[in-house]
């Protein structure tokens, strides 16, 4: 599959790199906000793959999928940030490691 002389493989390689960076960031960072940003990176990696494959297969379905991913990402950020605000109101400056309240 070629996209104007550029193989879909390049897009997939970029997507893999971006997804991996996001995943490592999610594991390494402890600030919940930055962890959310890393999740956004992973979602964007998937979006790049969707659009590139959709263009390669001449199918608008790839763009439709990205559309729904965008909506889910928006709701995820809204709920996630609301949780961060609620947690910080009770325990200021909490990192992901401090939240062991539910631990048995």
């Amino acid at each position: 599959m070629d996209l104007g002389g550029l193989s879909v493989g390049w897009y997939l390689a970029l997507s893999v790199a971006l997804f991996t960076i996001g995943g490592v960031g999610l594991l390494v960072r402890r600030n919940p906000l930055v962890m959310f940003m890393c999740v956004e990176l992973m979602l964007n990696a998937v979006n790049v793959a969707f659009v590139a494959l959709g263009a390669g297969l001449n199918d608008v379905g790839g763009q439709i999928a990205v559309f729904f991913v965008l909506v889910v990402a928006a709701t995820e950020v809204v709920i996630g940030l609301a949780l961060v605000v609620a947690i910080n109101r009770r325990r200021a400056g909490a990192t992901a490691d401090d939240l062991t309240l539910l631990k048995g």
Binding site: V28, N31, Q63
Partner: protein
């Protein structure tokens, strides 16, 4: 030309992504995220997904990053995180190992899947991208035709998210739960 645009935006995307992971200050990480999102929007334009590129800039680089920055400022957590401290022993090396494993798995999937993907036939008909209509018109037709039910579910999801956000951040009188 296409190769140059792809190379430049790929570099932007990866630099921004590494910045998100490595910047100690959350504000800098959020600004670095904007770089990645703009790069992804450029790739969308390169694939003739003009509507998605606009949505990417408006919703992601606009609304979502502003929301991040707003919460960072609101909570005053914009002080640098101490990356030296490692509460869980061996967390970083383990994370890098898991990341390398993830990358290996994904690359394998792409290499194996390449044959399957190139074997697929190109779409024709309403969902085909090379028709006379613009990309926004095609998205509209398919979204409100074939995917109408999914759009309705999306509406419910957004409503739940709004109600959830209000309930989570609501301040009850007298500071009780």
């Amino acid at each position: 030309m296409v190769e140059t645009v792809f190379a430049v935006s790929a570099v932007l995307i990866l630099v921004g992504a590494v910045g998100v992971v490595l910047f100690r200050n959350p504000v800098h990480a959020a600004l670095s995220l904007v770089l990645t999102l703009i790069g992804v929007a450029v790739l969308f334009v390169l694939n003739d997904a003009h509507f998605l590129a606009a949505v990417q800039v408006v919703v992601y680089a606009g609304a979502i990053v502003i929301l991040f920055l707003f919460v960072i400022m609101l909570l005053g957590v914009d002080k640098a995180e101490k990356l030296r401290i490692e509460p869980i022993a061996g967390q970083r090396p383990l994370a890098v190992v898991i990341g390398a494993g993830l990358a290996a798995v994904l690359v394998t999937v792409v290499i194996i899947g390449a044959d399957v993907l190139t074997g697929w036939r190109r779409q024709s008909g309403e969902r085909a991208l090379d028709g006379a209509s613009t990309d926004i018109e095609r998205i509209g037709r398919v979204l409100f035709g074939e995917f109408a039910f999914a759009v309705e579910i999306t509406a419910a999801l957004l409503t739940v998210a709004v109600v959830g956000a209000v309930i989570l951040t609501r301040r009850t009188p007298r500071g009780e739960q």
